[in-house]
């Protein structure tokens, strides 16, 4: 019950934070003039303006916000595209849904690849502490954590995809892959991005696991476990790993929520038709409805991820009592 109340309180606070930022963002974006200059020849600017007017773009901002919320709640309508030629007049939500699969897929693949590998490397390094295997892994981890992802993404693109021609240069379009996101062509074309994306997380998990596990391995209950007759591997798996996972597991949960948002840089380098690219074009061409919806989306994902990470500590480790003084 105590826990339940705490969770409710946290969710309430999160909703409050979200609303404040969202409203401020809405007001600030509506203060800017609507850009119709990008409407090209042959496209009717007046038609667009009429459409915008019908949606209430010339009313006071708070009234607009009311209308915006009502449309979202009643019709699931997040507005229409204005400034980006290829999405002009299209429903924002539909475009977003269409862009979501590549982003999610790449993130899921990279998480599936990175989490086990990172943890395995971390365990290996911890068990071989201060031997050469540990030094090699720790150095590599340091390099991959520090070096920005676009550097090794470019390196990957240049060597593997271009020089040796092992993998395709850009992600296959849906048509090339027979309208199937799970076909081999699609998967193969995603590999470079998945690899580039997972290096950083592998390094992160390896570092975290190693640090935790080395600490746990030297604690007294491990000595007890050995004294009562468990073999070293059994003691490690049964007792050390479980305890070491306490801080690691929440970040895994966070990563799987974060798969929705993806990485703008990686999407740009590998020209992935995902949400990140959409967000970037929306920013650069100042498309309000797209910008609002995607900003809200990113905000929500980051807030929820942070909340879940925080709460999951309490759920997986009964020793941690959340909200206790």
């Amino acid at each position: 019950m105590y826990m339940f109340k705490y969770v409710l309180k946290r969710i309430g606070l999160m909703v409050m934070t979200f609303s404040i930022i969202f409203v401020v963002c809405f007001v600030l974006i509506k203060l800017l003039p609507v850009d119709t200059t990008s409407v090209g020849v042959g496209e009717d600017a007046t038609k667009l303006l009429t459409q915008l007017k019908a949606r209430g773009y010339d009313r006071p901002i708070m009234e607009q916000f009311g209308l915006y919320l009502r449309r979202i709640v009643l019709d699931g309508d997040f507005g229409v595209g204005v400034s980006m030629p290829e999405y002009r007049g299209q429903n924002v939500w539909d475009v977003f849904i269409e862009k979501l699969p590549p982003t999610i897929l790449i993130n899921i693949y990279s998480s599936l690849f990175a989490v086990p590998l990172g943890i395995a490397l971390g365990i290996f390094a911890a068990l071989k502490k201060n031997k050469w295997q540990d030094h090699v892994i720790s150095t590599a981890v340091m390099v991959f954590i520090s070096v920005p992802s676009f550097v090794y993404a470019s390196l990957l693109l240049y060597t593997v995809c271009f020089k040796f021609d092992l993998l395709p240069l850009k992600m296959a379009s849906l048509a090339e892959a027979n309208n199937n996101y799970f076909s081999w062509t699609m998967f193969k074309s995603m590999i470079p991005a998945v690899l580039a994306m997972s290096f950083g997380s592998i390094a992160g998990y390896a570092r975290g696991t190693r640090a935790e596990l080395t600490e746990v391995l030297t604690s007294e209950f491990m000595l007890l476990a050995r004294t009562k007759g468990l073999t070293k591997s059994m003691a490690t798996i049964r007792h050390a790993l479980r305890n070491a996972m306490v801080p690691i597991f929440p970040s895994i949960v966070g990563e799987f929520i974060g798969v929705l948002s993806g990485s703008l840089v990686i999407e740009k380098i590998f020209t992935i038709p995902g949400v990140g690219g959409l967000y970037l074009t929306a920013i650069n061409s100042m498309d309000y409805d797209f910008y609002m919806m995607l900003s809200g989306f990113y905000l929500l994902v980051s807030l929820v991820a942070a909340l879940v990470i925080d709460l999951s500590y309490g759920f997986i480790d009964p020793r941690i009592r959340m909200g206790a003084r």
Binding site: I21, L32, S154, N284, S295, L299, S302
Partner: protein
């Protein structure tokens, strides 16, 4: 037992060491202050020391490079765009690496064109042996030539338009220095008709319009190029008075073409470049770019130094401002606690959960100021919260300790207790935090310029991210544009992280003695 049984006569007592002063022996070791101890333990961490040295070298490079190179960020020369990195040592030794050369595989026409430049200017354009191979593609067989191309000499000849005075000055320069800059002009009606070659000054030989409106070279029966230099009819209409004649001939050809108010001249671009910069007296003696040039012909080396300087400068300022504001905010929060803390903590939470992207885009569109300022404001708006949290934590830990109570009892005011007694405890973590902010700022700045959200390439300003973003567009053709900034930023981030980690361990007193 009675006392008198043990009576000892006073003679039995002897004064010991009557002349010595009795005192404690002096401490042999010097007391270590917190910082001395941190320094001592930092010095033991070899990786961090190496990282600190690398940071020092990079800083020196960023600060001193403008004095080592005559180029500036504003410098650009389109003709020498995309030339490759060239180190004179490797070039003079003829080692096919870092010599401004590029491995090329081209078709017959391009190969002949490079050969023609080489023949006209008598300067090595093709640096290695040529290998030819046949390739059949869609039923057609063509020959491909692969060789190492000197990207500097391949620039060859350019048309330039000179005013009367400039034309005269260039002729005088030729005579004075004994170098031929001006080459004979080609016959107007024999110049290539193909659109893409009309302004190509390198074509000094006869061509014809081939299939697909492409230029085709016409050879004589021995397979040589046929020159199309304009013959001098003796009317002096090129007003060429210089003693220098091409190929030792005594004025057989015309050397300029009269335009409306100017002269159109074919110049040997390398010599013309040297001449131009000798006149401008800007210290540039020849086209030589250690790290090559980018798409606009800017010197990568100079841009790199300038970009690093900018990135570091921004990062240092952001880190110090964050430290200052965060420390004061966190101190107030942590010291007063209660309601003040709850309200201030809410504000921090709100600010820190705004995605950085939203902050920067809104700032960008609302304030029409330079992107540097926007970047700085954005970093500041969201950056200091981390520092505040650290300071707050330390204040919570120390504010109820006895020595604080003593200070308060003695009548110290809040401000004094906060900054004289409690704050020094937080200095270690704050310094570490500030150092680790630096790579974070550099990384964010780089990503933002890379994504094109902010643009920092105006006038004499460039940043590592801008260079990376430009380099990305030419990844497959000119990887050197991306290679150097990438290497540099990787080194920078790596050494700052290692340095920061070393500092963190050194400033953490609980790790004392664990490393032995």
């Amino acid at each position: 037992m009675r006392a008198q049984d043990y009576k000892i006569s006073s003679e039995k007592f002897v004064f010991r060491a009557t002349n010595d002063n009795l005192h404690d022996t002096k401490l042999e070791t010097k007391p270590l202050t917190y910082f001395q101890d941190a320094l001592r333990r930092f010095a033991k961490n070899k990786a961090s020391v190496v990282a600190a040295i690398i940071i020092g070298i990079l800083l020196l490079f960023a600060l001193l490079a403008p004095f080592l190179t005559p180029f500036s960020v504003a410098y650009e020369d389109n003709s020498y765009a995309f030339v490759l990195p060239k180190n004179p040592i490797f070039y003079n030794l003829g080692i096919p690496f870092w010599d401004g050369g590029q491995e090329k595989e081209v078709n017959q026409l391009a190969y002949d064109q490079y050969r023609a430049i080489q023949q006209e200017l008598r300067r090595k354009v093709i640096m290695s042996d040529v290998e030819a191979r046949e390739e059949t593609y869609m039923g057609k067989t063509k020959t491909l030539y692969s060789f190492r191309l000197d990207t500097y000499n391949a620039v060859g000849v350019k048309y330039v338009e000179l005013t009367d005075a400039q034309y005269k000055a260039l002729q005088a320069y030729q005579d004075a220095n004994n170098v031929q800059v001006i080459l004979p002009i080609t016959e107007f009606k024999r110049r290539p008709e193909a659109e893409q070659d009309k302004n190509n000054a390198n074509i000094w030989y006869r061509t014809k319009l081939g299939a697909g409106r492409k230029t085709e070279i016409v050879f004589d029966k021995n397979g040589n190029f046929i020159p199309i230099y304009e013959k001098d009819t003796g009317d002096g209409r090129d007003q060429y008075t210089s003693k220098m004649y091409w190929e030792g001939d005594t004025k057989q050809y015309n050397y300029a073409e009269k335009k409306q108010n100017s002269w159109m001249v074919r110049v040997d671009y390398r010599e013309y470049y040297i001449y131009q910069h000798a006149v401008a007296d800007d210290g540039i003696t020849e086209p030589l770019f250690l790290f090559g040039t980018n798409n606009a012909g800017k010197d990568v080396f100079t841009c790199l130094a300038s970009g690093t300087r900018f990135s570091l400068f921004l990062a240092f300022i952001v880190a110090s401002v964050n430290l200052f504001v965060g420390a004061i905010y966190g101190a107030i929060e942590g010291y007063y606690g209660g309601k003040v803390d709850i309200i201030m903590e809410r504000i921090v939470e709100l600010l820190s959960s705004v995605p950085f992207m939203i902050v920067i885009t809104l700032l960008k569109y609302h304030f029409n100021v330079s992107h540097v300022l926007i970047l700085f404001i954005a970093f500041f708006l969201t950056g200091w919260t981390g520092m505040a949290a650290r300071t707050r934590m330390q204040f919570y830990r120390f504010k109820n300790q006895e020595y604080v109570l003593v200070a308060r009892t003695l009548g110290a005011r809040d401000f004094r207790i906060m900054f004289k007694h409690i704050f020094p405890n937080a200095i270690g973590t704050l310094i570490t935090g500030s150092v680790l902010v630096i790579p974070g700022v550099i990384f964010s700045e780089t990503s933002l310029s890379y994504l094109g959200i902010i643009s920092l390439s105006t006038g004499n300003l460039t940043s590592l991210g801008t260079m990376l973003a430009t380099g990305q567009n030419y990844l497959f053709t000119y990887p050197h544009m991306l290679l150097f900034p990438s290497l540099f930023i990787s080194l920078l981030m790596l050494s700052f992280n290692l340095f920061g980690n070393g500092l963190r361990d050194a400033f953490n007193p609980s790790l004392r003695g664990t490393e032995e």
